[in-house]
């Protein structure tokens, strides 16, 4: 069980949280001009990185607020927690592969 530090409630068990998938996926500025392949890229295709990942998490059974987390997908270590809407922290991805 992971212990995740909710930015509002403090450290809580993983079972209280819901992972919302990859973070920082930008909605296309002009959706009408996109080709099918580009839409598929935006809607379905994710990087599934081994190492440093940036994810959205929701404290579903606590304060119900969203936040971002940087996580090592190999060791499951949570490297950073930062608010929604802010840029990812500067972490060297080569360290986490």
């Amino acid at each position: 069980m992971l212990l995740i530090a909710c930015p509002h409630c403090g450290p809580r068990a993983e079972s209280e949280f819901h992972c919302g998938g990859e973070a920082h996926i930008e909605r296309p500025k002009d959706p009408a001009s996109l080709s099918d392949a580009e839409w598929a890229e935006f809607v379905f295709l994710r990087d599934n990185i081994k190492g440093l990942v940036f994810e959205r998490w929701n404290h579903a059974h606590g304060c119900r607020r969203w936040f971002n987390a940087a996580r090592d997908s190999v060791t499951y270590e949570i490297l950073a927690i930062y608010p929604m809407g802010s840029p990812p922290p500067a972490l060297d991805p080569r360290r986490y592969v």
């Binding site: 509002h8 409630c9 809580r12 079972s15 209280e16 059974h61 606590g62 304060c63 119900r64």
Partner: protein
């Protein structure tokens, strides 16, 4: 507003009043169901001094801004649910008290960026007390319930108990806890609590 005659606990079918005891008990755990609480959900910006002051004026209670804390006063409790969300709870109140409480808050918060929502009969309040109360909760709740971490009376948290979403409020250092649970989970959670507490000796007591 909910008519008095319609207010019925989700545990009515268990007939708890019939087999609860008022006598002092040696049981490690005392369980009871409190009468349906009056609950009003409050949203707003705790960074806005006008909002904090308006709530204090309307309820006579300070808004808890520290995470996982609650402030309690005359029959009224204000629970922190999130950075901009609180739950006002009133016990032993008539059914119309909910509308009164919500109206009072709405009037006080008029013109401010805030929301007041009546919770109706959505929540049941189970009370769990006794020397082994923590041990029972620890069987199904991932929270650290040690007094060092779950800081005594006035500490509250939303979490899971036996996979049901609950709001936990410590009301006494004895220890005694109040569990607020959605009514559709109340029957399941009551039976789970009775079963989990069996090994310590469990008494159903009058609220």
């Amino acid at each position: 507003m909910i008519e008095t005659y319609l207010r019925q606990s989700a545990l009515d079918h268990l007939g708890l009043a019939g087999h609860s005891t008022a006598a002092p008990t040696e049981a490690g755990v005392q369980l009871s169901e409190k009468p349906l609480p009056v609950a009003v959900n409050l949203r707003g910006d705790s960074g806005d001094a006008a909002f904090v002051e308006a709530v204090r004026e309307a309820l006579g209670l300070a808004l808890p801004t520290l995470p996982n804390t609650a402030t309690t006063g005359e029959g009224l409790a204000l629970l922190w649910l999130g950075p901009d969300e609180w739950l006002a709870m009133q016990h032993d109140a008539a059914a119309f008290a909910e509308a009164q409480l919500a109206t009072k808050l709405r009037k006080a918060l008029d013109g401010l960026h805030a929301a007041v929502t009546e919770m109706g009969e959505s929540l049941c309040c189970l009370s769990l007390a006794g020397a082994q109360a923590r041990a029972v909760l620890a069987k199904g709740c991932p929270l650290d319930l040690h007094p060092r971490a779950f800081g005594g009376s006035g500490h509250c948290a939303q979490s899971l108990l036996a996979k049901a979403a609950v709001t936990l409020l410590q009301v006494s250092d004895a220890p005694a806890f109040e569990l607020y649970v959605r009514r559709s989970f109340a029957d399941y959670l009551w039976r789970w609590l009775e079963d989990a507490a069996r090994e310590y000796g469990v008494a159903v007591v009058r609220p």
